[in-house]
């Protein structure tokens, strides 16, 4: 018997739950000018999140997937990306999307049941949300291949959940991207739950990072509630990918503080005490505490920030609610580059039988999913 291969998985954290440094910090983390934008973005995402839940409760949008408590992952990763990189997100990644330039009004349109919400004005090449779990990892690997083939210094960044790491698409895509040495970064938001299935039942693997070993690439764990650690690691693996070093996998360990979606009631399967305890670790207070320690933040700034972010959310909601509904022909008009002759009669029929809709009518009230 001979040992022919050895592997290990590393875990990184810079700030402990109280916001105290546990080890020497990377340079950017000593610079408030670098950190405050992260803090701001996390705050904005959380305020958007709670407004979206409220809109769902009042029937103004459909089912919504909150990212409560997981903001550091999206913000830490998206802030490490360049504009020309491509984000390939899941449905729980509005934090990353907003930082990339997706507008909150666009996001509400999407969750309000309107395809126009995926026609992002800013990150024109970012993928729309992937609802079919883990399929996006394949898309991201394909994007990365295109970048590599054309010699473009761009990286495809893909996000998925802990549950998603059980799906064939995830493994197949990682394996191919590794053979290709394509510039792909895959970030697992391990929020401990896949709807009602706890992490322990999702896989017998003690870490999800080790799934990278199957593809022969590097996988690492990071405290997903420590935005400093997430951002730092994301920077590293993005730089590596950009330099031709191939794909990486990051398992960001966090916790889903909310229900799975507004259609879910997590008390059916999860002890509220567990959730309560997890609030200790949440990312926004952690960074605030650290900024307070740096004396780079105070109640005044906090108040101003909340005010600005709330105003932005409210403006987005207004814009969303005022958006005229799409017409019935909309179903046909973006299906093909040119509508095939065979479909023209159907389009006319749809217009003939069209129902008239009020601005946000039709999108709300979703109770499932």
């Amino acid at each position: 018997m001979a040992i022919v291969a050895r592997f290990q998985v590393e875990y990184t954290r810079f700030l402990d739950p109280q916001g105290e440094a546990t080890q020497p910090l990377p340079p950017f983390a000593l610079d408030p000018a670098a950190l405050v934008p992260l803090y701001r973005a996390m705050t904005q995402a959380r305020l958007f999140d709670s407004k979206a839940i409220a809109l769902q409760r009042t029937g103004k949008i459909g089912t919504f997937a909150s990212a409560l408590g997981q903001e550091a992952i999206g913000i830490g990763v998206a802030s490490a990306m360049r504009a020309e990189d491509v984000l390939v997100p899941s449905y729980r990644d509005h934090a990353a999307q907003l930082l990339r330039g997706v507008s909150m009004a666009e996001s509400l349109l999407y969750w309000g049941g309107d395809e126009r919400g995926s026609d992002f004005a800013v990150p024109r090449m970012d993928f729309p949300i992937a609802v079919p779990i883990a399929t996006q990892v394949c898309h991201a690997a394909g994007c990365a291949y295109a970048f590599k083939l054309r010699g473009e210094p761009r990286v495809a960044v893909c996000m998925l959940g802990d549950g998603g790491t059980s799906k064939g698409d995830f493994y197949e895509a990682l394996n191919l991207a590794a053979v290709w040495q394509a510039p792909l970064v895959v970030v697992v938001n391990n929020n401990q739950w896949a709807i009602s299935v706890p992490r322990s039942q999702q896989s017998a693997a003690p870490t999800l990072a080790q799934k990278a070993i199957a593809a022969g690439i590097e996988g690492c764990q990071v405290d997903g509630n420590d935005v400093v650690a997430v951002h730092h690691l994301a920077q590293q693996v993005l730089a590596k990918a950009r330099a031709g070093g191939g794909p990486s996998l990051i398992e960001a360990i966090s916790y889903r503080l909310g229900d799975h979606t507004t259609a879910d009631d997590a008390t059916r399967y999860r002890d509220p005490a567990e959730v309560e305890a997890q609030w200790t670790f949440e990312p926004i207070r952690r960074l605030r505490n650290y900024l307070l320690r740096l004396q780079a933040w105070g109640p005044e700034q906090e108040e101003q920030l909340i005010g600005e972010c709330s105003a932005a959310v409210n403006a987005a909601v207004e814009a969303y609610l005022a958006t005229p509904p799409p017409g019935a022909a909309d179903m046909f008009d973006h299906l093909y580059a040119t509508l095939p002759a065979a479909l023209q009669e159907q389009r006319a029929m749809a217009l003939h039988f069209a129902l008239r809709l009020a601005p946000h009518e039709g999108g709300g009230g979703g109770s499932h999913g």
Binding site: G62, T63, Y91, Y110, W111, G112, G113, D114, E115, I129, V131, P132, I133, A134, G163, G164, S166, K167, G168, A194, I195, S196, V197, Q201, Q202, S203, T261, A263, D264, R268, Y269, P325, P326, A328, D330, M331, F332, L335, A342, L343, Q346, R347, M349, A350, F353, A354, L355, L357, E361, G362, G363, G364, G365, G366, S367, H368, G369
Partner: protein, 326 residues
């Protein structure tokens, strides 16, 4: 007799069969502790244990594929796919294995699995949660495909599916899950597979539909009745194999036929019914048949889903067209 909605009827049928047949096991995402995202399996894990009600990892291919293995070894797996938009990764195992294991081995190994999935639009669900994939399955030799249209038919047809020695795809219209209740005797009585149910007798036109669309179809029949037009309404129920005898017989009497379904028009199951009418019932038809279906477009997000779904108005208009033709 209890008043049950469709999802409760599914739950009772599963419970009955699990109680009476120890080979029945359920598997799927969130079906255990959580009782299923639609509550179809609520209470069953507590009652029958985590060994028989398996909360799986997130892996539709393996849900279908392991079910094939379980079925071959003598279990009666009932695999739930959480929404029909996520059913496509099962097709490889369904088509290449489940549908042909008996054939390949001359019956030495068989594959009596049931693949349950919610289907259809109309509940303002998120993207990919409103698909109607029945025609994909109905083209596959070796399968049975069943869709109930009421709590009592859900109960009886699901029991029949659970007792069938071959694979059954059982599609449950989400729009009906909680739409209405019905008296359902929880007595373990199955309904027959492979036959249509005539829901309403009529003499002027035959309306053929299945699943949730029978709501609009029956409402259309009501509306037509008010105008003195007598519509027969047929619930196809088993979409494969098709009971064309009942449909042909009805059309022989009415001379007109309108087929209503929610799935996209081209290559939908309505085409097969229409084709068979054209082959065998053409002399009975006094007017061209009509299909009232979803358009050949991606099922839209919530805001436009009711622009997509066949409406009572569209069905009535189609009936008028067939009645006006000569």
């Amino acid at each position: 007799m209890a008043e049950l909605n469709l999802v409760e009827a599914v739950n009772r049928a599963l419970a009955w069969e699990m109680e009476h047949d120890p080979a029945v096991v359920l598997l799927g995402e969130d079906i255990g502790v959580n009782g299923g995202v639609f509550r179809a399996t609520v209470g069953l894990q507590q009652r029958f244990g985590a060994g028989r009600v398996i909360d799986t990892a997130l892996a539709e291919t393996a849900i279908a594929g392991t079910a094939v293995g379980m079925a071959a070894m003598g279990l009666k797996p009932v695999a739930e796919i959480q929404f029909s938009g996520f059913i496509y990764p099962t097709l490889d195992h369904v088509i290449n294995h489940a549908s042909r294991l008996r054939h390949r081995t001359r019956g030495r190994l068989t594959c009596p699995l049931v693949l349950r999935s919610p289907c259809g639009a109309g509940i303002h669900a998120p993207e990919h949660h409103s698909e109607s994939p029945e025609a994909l399955f109905a083209h596959v030799p070796g399968l049975r495909v069943v869709m109930p249209s009421s709590p009592s038919r859900a109960y009886g047809l699901l029991l029949a599916a659970l007792r069938d020695p071959d694979p059954v795809i059982f599609l449950e219209p989400t729009r009906l899950y909680r739409l209405f209740k019905q008296e359902v005797a929880d007595d373990g009585a199955a309904l027959p597979l492979d036959v249509c149910f005539t829901l309403r007798a009529g003499s002027d036109v035959t309306l053929v539909s299945w699943g949730a669309m029978l709501q609009e179809t029956q409402a259309a029949a009501e509306a037509l009745a008010a105008e003195g037009i007598s519509a027969e309404v047929i619930d196809v129920a088993t979409l494969k194999p098709l009971d064309m005898a009942t449909i042909l017989d009805s059309v022989a009497r009415t001379g007109r036929c309108v087929i209503v379904h929610e799935a996209a028009r081209s290559g939908g199951l309505g085409a097969e019914i229409a084709a068979t009418l054209a082959e065998r019932g053409i002399y009975s038809l006094s007017a061209p048949l009509q299909r009232v279906t979803g358009y050949d477009v991606v099922i839209p997000l919530a805001r436009l889903e009711y622009q997509y779904l066949p409406s009572v108005e569209r069905i009535v208009a189609a009936v008028r067209t067939t009645l006006e033709a000569t």
